[in-house]
Amino acid sequence: MGRYVIRRLLQMIPVFFGATLLIFLMVNVMGDPIAGLCGDRQCDPATAAQLEKEFGLDKPVWQQYLTYMGNVFTGDFGTAFNGQPVTELMASAFPVTIRLTIVAILFEIVIGISLGVVTGLKRGRPVDTTVLLLTLVVLSVPTFVTGLLVQLLLGVKWGWIKPAVSPEATFSELIVPGLVLASVSLAYVTRLTRTSIAENKRADYVRTAVAKGLPRHRVISRHLLRNSLIPVVTFIGADIGALMGGAIVTERIFNIHGVGYQLYQGIVRQNTQTVVGFVTILVLIFLLANLLVDLLYAVLDPRIRYA
C-alpha cells in the first residue's frame, strides 16, 4: 500500500512539470506577454524592451519557466493586469469555484449514481430506456446551450432563480449553475454506473450471494454496488479537476466571478502571469484529486492494496 502511494506520487512529478511547461509554452509562444502588461494601451518599444528585461523575457523560454516555477514555490505568482497580485485573485476566485464544483460533484454522486443503479438493475425496462434517452439528450446539447436555456427558462421566464449570481456566490445561488456544470458528467456517471451494474449483475460472485440466500437489498448494496462503483469513483475523482477547469462556460453564463472568469479575463487581456498561475493551481488540484482517487481505489479494491 505504501509503495503504491509512493509510486503514484512519483509519477505525478513529471506530469506536474510537463503540464505546467506545456501551458507556459502555449501562453508564451503563442501570445505576447508584454502586450498585456501595459494595460489597454499599446506599449512603446522602449518600455517594452525595459519590461522584457525586467521580467526576464529576453532569456530563453526554459530559463523563464524555471524562474517562474522558482517564484511559484515561494508563493509568488506575479501580478495580474490590474496590478493586483495573482494570489489575491486566487483567494477570491477559488472559494467560489470550489463551492460550484462541490455542488456539481454532489449532483453527480446523488443523482448520477442513483439513476445508474436503477437503470442498471432494470436494463431494458421503460424506466431504463427513458433515462438513457434523457442522458443522450443532455450529452448531445453543448453545455453552454443547456446553460443559456436553463437561465432563460428558470431565471427569466419563470423567475425561479436570479439569472445572475451575486458576488458572494452562496451555495443556494450555485445550485442551478452547479447542475448545469454537472449536467454532462451527470449523464455520463449515470451511463457508466448503469453499464457497470449491468455487467457485474451477471458476475459469479453475485450469483453466489443469491445462492447464499441473502436478501435482495443486501446482494445489491453489499456485493453488487461496491464492485460496480470502482470505475465510477475513478471518474468522479478525475472529474473534480476537469469541472474546475471547465467552469469557464458556466461561470460566463451565470456571471460567477470564479476561476473561469479570472482565466477568461487573463486570456482576453493576454496576462501571462494570471493564466499560468491559475492553470498551475488547476493542474495541482487535478493531480491531487487523482491521488485521492488512487487511495480510494485501494480502499475499495483489496487487490490493489496488497499488490
Binding site: 506536474f16 506545456l22 453552454f144 455487467e199 477547469g245 492553470v279 479494491d301 490493489i304
Partner: protein
C-alpha cells in the same frame, strides 16, 4: 471491470482506471473513452457468457461467425443504428450539396428583417443580421461536419499510430508516451482551446482542427495502446510470434484487426463531441470566425438575443444536438454490437 486481465500486472489496473480520466472536453469525450473499456476486456467473454447461466453452448453455428460479421448481423436489425445511420447519411449529403434543400444564399442578409420570426419561405425566421436561419442552418452543416470528421480523422490516425506502437513495443517509449498522455489529460480542453486559439487570426477551420488533434490524440492513443496490449496476449498472436512471424506481419495481420474496434467506437462518439466543442469555442469567442457559416458561430451570435428571439439559437442548436446525438448513438450501437458481454 473488476477483474484485471490475467496477464496484466496488477498495477496496470490503476492505469486502466485512469483511461477514463475526464478530459474536461465537456464530458462526452470521456464517455467515449470509458465506454470502450468494456471492449478492451474481450478475452473474458466466454467466461462471462457461461456465467450468464444462459443456455450452455447455444449451438455450433453461432461460433462460426466472426466478430465483425456477427456485429454487422446485429446492427442491421438495430433501429438505433439504422436511424442514426440515416441521419448521418443525410448530413453528409447536405454538407456536400446544401443547395439540394436550401435555395438561398447564407450570406444574403437583409438587416431590416433582423430577428424576425418564421414567415412564408423562411420557416426558421431571420437572425440578428437578417439572414435566413434555415439557409444558414443547412449551410452550417458543412463546416460543423467537416470540423468533426477531419478532427476525428487526425486524432484517430495520430492517436492509434502512437498508442499502437507504444502498446506493441512497450518499454521506454511506452513509459514516455504514457507520461505525455498524462500531461495532456491534466490540461482542461476548453482552457487549452482558449489559450491556443485566442491569438489565432485565421478564419479557416484549420486552427480549430489542429487544436483538436493536438489535445485529442492522447485519448485515442490510450485506447489503442490498451487494445493492442490486449490483442497481443491472445493465444493465436503468441502462436504467430512463436512461429516466427515478423513484427510488421503480426501488427498488420493479427493485432490491428482485433485492436481497431475500440478505436472506431471511441472515434465515432468523439466525432460528435468535437462538433459540440467547436460550438463551445465559438461561444467563448475563439472558435471559427465569420464569414464562415457554422452552427457554433450562429448559436453564439444568437446567444445575447436569446430572451427576445430564441428561435435564432434554437434552430442551429437543435441541428447540432441531433448531429451529436446521431454520432453518439451510432458509436453506442456499434459498441453494443461488438461487445457480446452486454447482450
Amino acid at each position: 471491470m473488476p477483474e484485471p486481465e490475467p496477464f496484466e500486472p496488477l498495477e496496470s489496473y490503476g492505469e486502466e482506471g485512469r483511461a477514463i480520466a475526464s478530459t474536461g472536453a465537456g464530458g462526452a469525450s470521456d464517455l467515449a473513452t470509458a465506454e470502450a473499456e468494456t471492449l478492451e476486456q474481450r478475452p473474458s467473454v466466454d467466461a462471462a457468457e457461461e456465467a450468464a447461466g444462459g443456455p450452455e453452448g447455444a449451438g455450433p453455428d453461432k461460433k462460426a461467425r466472426s466478430l465483425w460479421s456477427d456485429a454487422w448481423h446485429d446492427l442491421r436489425r438495430n433501429p438505433v443504428f439504422i436511424i442514426s445511420g440515416l441521419i448521418i447519411l443525410f448530413l453528409v449529403v447536405i454538407s456536400i450539396w446544401p443547395s439540394l434543400i436550401a435555395s438561398g444564399d447564407p450570406l444574403d442578409c437583409d438587416l431590416s428583417k433582423a430577428q424576425e420570426g418564421s414567415q412564408p419561405g423562411h420557416p426558421f425566421g431571420f437572425n440578428g443580421q437578417g439572414c435566413d436561419v434555415y439557409t444558414r442552418t443547412v449551410y452550417g452543416a458543412r463546416t460543423s461536419v467537416s470540423v468533426g470528421v477531419l478532427a476525428t480523422l487526425g486524432v484517430a490516425i495520430l492517436g492509434s499510430i502512437l498508442g499502437g506502437l507504444a502498446g506493441f513495443f512497450g518499454g521506454a517509449w511506452d513509459g514516455f508516451l504514457s507520461r505525455i498522455t498524462d500531461v495532456f489529460f491534466a490540461i482542461p480542453v476548453v482552457l487549452g482551446g482558449l489559450v491556443l486559439l485566442s491569438v489565432v487570426t485565421s478564419s479557416t477551420v484549420w486552427p480549430v482542427i489542429g487544436f483538436m488533434v493536438l489535445l485529442g490524440w492522447p485519448q485515442i492513443s490510450r485506447i489503442a495502446r490498451g487494445s493492442v496490449i490486449t490483442a497481443k496476449q491472445h493465444d493465436y498472436v503468441q502462436a504467430a510470434r512463436a512461429l516466427g512471424a515478423s513484427n510488421s506481419r503480426m501488427m498488420l495481420r493479427h493485432i490491428t484487426p482485433n485492436a481497431v474496434a475500440p478505436v472506431i467506437v471511441v472515434a465515432t462518439i468523439a466525432l460528435g463531441t468535437y462538433i459540440s466543442l467547436e460550438a463551445t469555442l465559438s461561444y467563448l469567442g475563439v472558435g471559427l470566425k465569420p464569414p464562415t457559416v457554422s452552427w457554433g458561430i450562429d448559436i453564439s451570435s444568437a446567444s445575447p438575443y436569446i430572451r427576445n428571439a430564441p428561435h435564432m439559437l434554437l434552430w442551429p442548436a437543435g441541428a447540432l444536438a441531433i448531429t451529436v446525438l446521431a454520432f453518439i448513438m451510432l458509436g453506442d450501437a456499434v459498441r453494443d454490437a461488438l461487445d457480446p458481454k452486454l447482450r
